[in-house]
Amino acid sequence: MRSPVLPLTWHLARASGRRGLQSQLLAAGAAAVGSFLLLLMIAAALGAGARAGHTTWRTPDAVSAREATAVQATTTTYVRQGPVTVVNLARLPGRGQTPAPPGLSHFPQQGQVYVSPALAELLHKLPAAQLADRFPVVSSYGTIGAAGLASPDELVAVIGRAPGDAAVSKAAGEQNYYDDGLTERALVSGFSGSKADVFTGSDQGTVLLGVVLLVMPVVVLASAAGRLGAARREQRLAALRLAGATPRQILAMTAFEAAGVGAAGATAGALAYMALLPALAEIPYGVGTWYTGRLWVGLPWLAAVVLTVTALITVSAVTMLRQVATSPLGVAQQANPRRTRAIRLLLFVAVLGYIWATTGDSGQLKPRQLLALLALFYGAFWLFGPWVVDRLGRIVGRRARRPATLLAARRLSDDPRAVWRTVSGLVLAGFVAGFFSVSTLDFDGPSHRDQVGVITANAADARHTATQARTVLRQAGVTATVTVTSEDDYDSLLGGVDGVIAHVSGGQHRIDTGVTALTRLRSGRYPFTQEYVSASDDIVIARVATVSTATLVLSFLVAAASAGLTAAANVLDRRRMYGLLRLAGTPLQVLDGARIRETVIPLAVLAGGTTAMGAFGAMQLNKAAGTTINTSGVIQLVICLAVGTLAMLAAITGSRPLLRKVTEGPAQTAD
C-alpha cells in the first residue's frame, strides 16, 4: 500500500492557513539568509586562497645556475602609501626560452614594461615625477592579464631588463629583515613557485578565523528556522499521534515539511548569492576588490550548502518533535519543563581547564590547533548557555515582583534551550567582540612617516649618495633634509644599515616625488618608506581588523535576525494564549514586557559573561601565539555590545505589531 505520509504532509501544509504560511515563509527566509551567508563565507575563504594562488609566480622559484634561463628580482615600491609589486625579469644570454609569466603572452623583452590595469590608470592619473619615472621610459605599456593578478585593484609591473641591469643584480635581492616577502631575487627557469606574496598570503587564514567564529551564529539561524512554527506543528502532530499515527510517520511528516521549506529557502539563498556575485566582488578585502569568477564557489559547494542548510533545518525540526513521538500527551499539554543538568557545567569547566592547560606553558601552537581550541571553546559555551539560562530563570523567578518579570523568569526555566537559541547569537557575538577586541595585535614600533631611505654598500658610498640625493631632490622640487645613517643608527628607517635618509616635508605627494627622484640613483633597489619597513606587521593588523569588523557586523546582523525570527515565531505559536490573556484584561504592555525581559535578562548576564570569556580566550591565544594584546579595544567592545543589544531589541520589538494584531480580536470565532 502506498505510504500516506507524503500526501498527508502536503495536505496539512496547504491547510495550515495564512498563519501557517507566515511561519513557513519566515522559516524559508531564515534558510535563505543562512545559505547565503554560508556561501558568502565559503566564497571568501576559497576566493582568498584562489587569489593568493595568482601571486605565487612573483616569488622567484630558484633553480641552479646550470638550469636557469632567466633572472627574476621581485621588489615593492609604495605610492600613495599603497604597494606596487615590481617584477624585474632578464633573459640569460645563451640559455633556452623561459615561459611567459602568468598574465603575459610572452616573456618580456628588454625595455618592455607591462602593468596591471589599476597601475595603468594610476600612471595616467599621477604626475610622472611621482610614479612613472620609477620605471623605464616606454612609448606604451603592455597589460598584465587577470591570470597574473590577485585583484583588479592590484598595482603590479613586469619589467624586461638587460642581464647586467642593477635592478636584477645581486644587490637587488633580500638584504634585511624588512625585505622578507617584499624583495627577493633568484635565477629561474619558469614561474611555477608556490609561495603566495606577502599581501595575500595570510588572507585565507584570517578569513577562516572569521568563518569559525561565524559558523555557529549562522547554524543558530538555520536551527531557529527549523523551529519556527514548532508549537503549531507539535499540536497538530501530537493530535495525529493520539489519533494513531506511528512515531515514524510523525517524524517523516515533520522531516518532509521542514525539508521542503528548508530546501526552498536554501535554494533562494543560493540564487541570491549567484545574482549578487558581481556586487559581492566589489567589496574590497586585502589587496582590493575581487575578480567575480574567483568568488564563485562551484556547483559542488553550492549543492553542499543547500543540502547542509536543508539538513540543519530538518534535523532541528525533527529533534524538536522527538517528544511527540515518545510522549504525545506530554507535548500536547506541554507537561514537561525542558530542564538542563549540571553535567553541562562540569563539561564547560573541564573544557576551560583543558584550554588553560594547553595554552599555558606549552609554547607556541600551530594555527590549526588554535582554531581547534577556539571551536572547542565555542562548543563548550554552547553546552553551558542553556544551563545558565535555566538557573537564571529559577533565581529571578524566586525574586520576581512584577508579573512581566515573573512570566519571563518562568519562561526561562521552562524551556532554557529555546531561550538560549534566541540570545545565543548575540551572546556568541559578544564572545567574538571580546575575542577580537583583545586579540587585535598591537605593534607600536617607531614611526618614520616622512622619511625616504636609500641603502648603500658602505659608509663612503653613503656620503657620496647623500650628495647625489640632495641634487636630485632639489631638481625634483622636493624640500628635504638628507642625512647619512650608519650601523649605529638603529632607531632610523634603515635600522642600522649604511645608507641615506631624506626627511621630506610637504605631505604624501612630496614623499612619492622624493621616492621617484631617488630611484634615479640606480642603486638597483627602490628607495623605501615606512610602509615598506612595517609592511608585514601592517598587513596582519589590517587583515585582522577587516575580518574582525566584518565578523562582528555579520554576527550582530545574524544574531538580530535570529532573535527577530524567534520572537515572531513565538508570537505566532502562542497567539491563542496571548489572545485569551488579553481578552481577560492583561495589558499588552505586560505581555510585551515579558517577551522583552525574557531576552534582556539572559542577555545582560550571558553577554557580559561571554564577553569576558572572549577576552579570556583571546588572552590565552595571544599567550600561546607569543604576541601582545591590545588593551585599547575595550571601547570598541562596549560600542559593539551596545549596538548589538539595541539591534536585537529592535528586532524583537519589530514583532510587537504582530503581537498586537494576533491579540486584538476575539480569540474564538464569534457565533
Binding site: 506530554g330 499539554q333 507537561a335 481577560a584 464569534a670
Partner: protein, 227 residues
C-alpha cells in the same frame, strides 16, 4: 436583586451577517445565566459584547448603571481585568506558571505584592478541590483540574461578573458536571454573577436562567428556582 449588567438593543453585524439583531438582557447579582443556541446563532457574540470584548454597532451595555460600550480600549481592558473574570474552553492558563501563580496573576496585575497575591490565590484551592496541586503546571493537570484552576483565577479578583465561554466544551460528561457545579457554586458564594455560553443543556440546567438565542435574537427564556 439589583441589576449588575444590562444590554439593551444590542446590534452587531459582521459584514452582511447579523450576529445580534437587537438583544435585551439583564444580569442580576448572584444571578447565573446560560446562553444557548445553535452554531452561528450569536451566543458568543452576545457574551463578548456584554464583556466589553466586542463593541456593539448599536445599543448599550451598562455595568451597575454605567455605560461601558463606549469606553476606550485601555479603559475596557482595565475594566475586564478588575470587574470581570473569564473562563474559556481551554488554553487560557500560562503553561510556564504553576497553578498558584496562574491564579495569582490577575491580582499581581492589579498591583498586589506577589506574596500576598499567591497567598490569596491559595485560598481557592481547597474549595475547588485543588489541594496539593498548587505547584503543578497546567500541562501536569487533567482537563477538569485545569478548568478549576481557570475558575479560581476568574474569581480571585472578586469580580462583579464571571463570563464563561463553553467552559466544559473539552471535558467529559462527569467532569463537566463537576466543573459547572463548582463554577456556579463559587460565583454565587463570592456574590458575582455568571454569564455562560454553552451548547450542553445539562450544563445550562445548573444556571438560574437560560437564554435561548437564534439568528441574533432571544428566542426563549427559561427560569429555574434558585436553590
Amino acid at each position: 436583586m439589583s441589576t449588575v449588567l444590562a444590554g439593551s438593543g444590542l446590534v452587531k453585524k459582521y459584514g452582511s451577517t447579523t450576529a445580534l439583531a437587537g438583544v435585551d438582557v439583564e444580569v442580576h447579582e448572584r444571578d447565573s445565566l446560560a446562553i444557548m443556541g445553535p452554531s452561528g446563532s450569536g451566543k458568543s457574540t452576545l457574551l463578548h459584547t456584554l464583556a466589553g470584548i466586542v463593541r456593539p454597532d448599536d445599543g448599550q451595555v451598562l455595568l451597575r448603571g454605567e455605560r461601558i460600550d463606549n469606553l476606550g480600549e485601555n479603559k475596557l481592558s482595565a475594566l475586564r481585568r478588575k470587574r470581570f473574570g473569564f473562563v474559556f474552553q481551554f488554553g487560557q492558563l500560562l503553561p510556564e506558571l504553576p497553578a498558584e501563580e496562574n491564579v495569582a496573576l490577575p491580582l499581581m496585575l492589579e498591583g498586589m505584592p506577589r506574596r500576598e497575591a499567591v497567598a490569596r490565590a491559595r485560598r481557592w484551592f481547597t474549595p475547588l478541590g485543588l489541594d496539593g496541586l498548587e505547584l503543578r503546571r497546567p500541562g501536569q493537570l487533567s482537563g477538569g483540574q485545569a478548568q478549576r484552576v481557570a475558575i479560581a483565577r476568574a474569581l480571585a479578583g472578586e469580580p462583579d461578573v464571571v463570563f464563561a465561554d463553553e467552559p466544559t466544551g473539552a471535558l467529559d460528561q462527569r467532569t463537566s458536571t463537576e466543573v459547572v457545579q463548582l463554577l456556579t457554586f463559587a460565583t454565587r458564594e463570592t456574590g458575582a454573577a455568571l454569564v455562560m455560553v454553552t451548547h450542553d443543556a445539562d450544563v445550562a440546567a445548573h444556571c438560574d436562567r437560560i437564554l435561548q438565542v437564534r439568528d441574533g435574537r432571544i428566542s426563549g427564556h427559561s427560569q429555574y428556582t434558585v436553590a
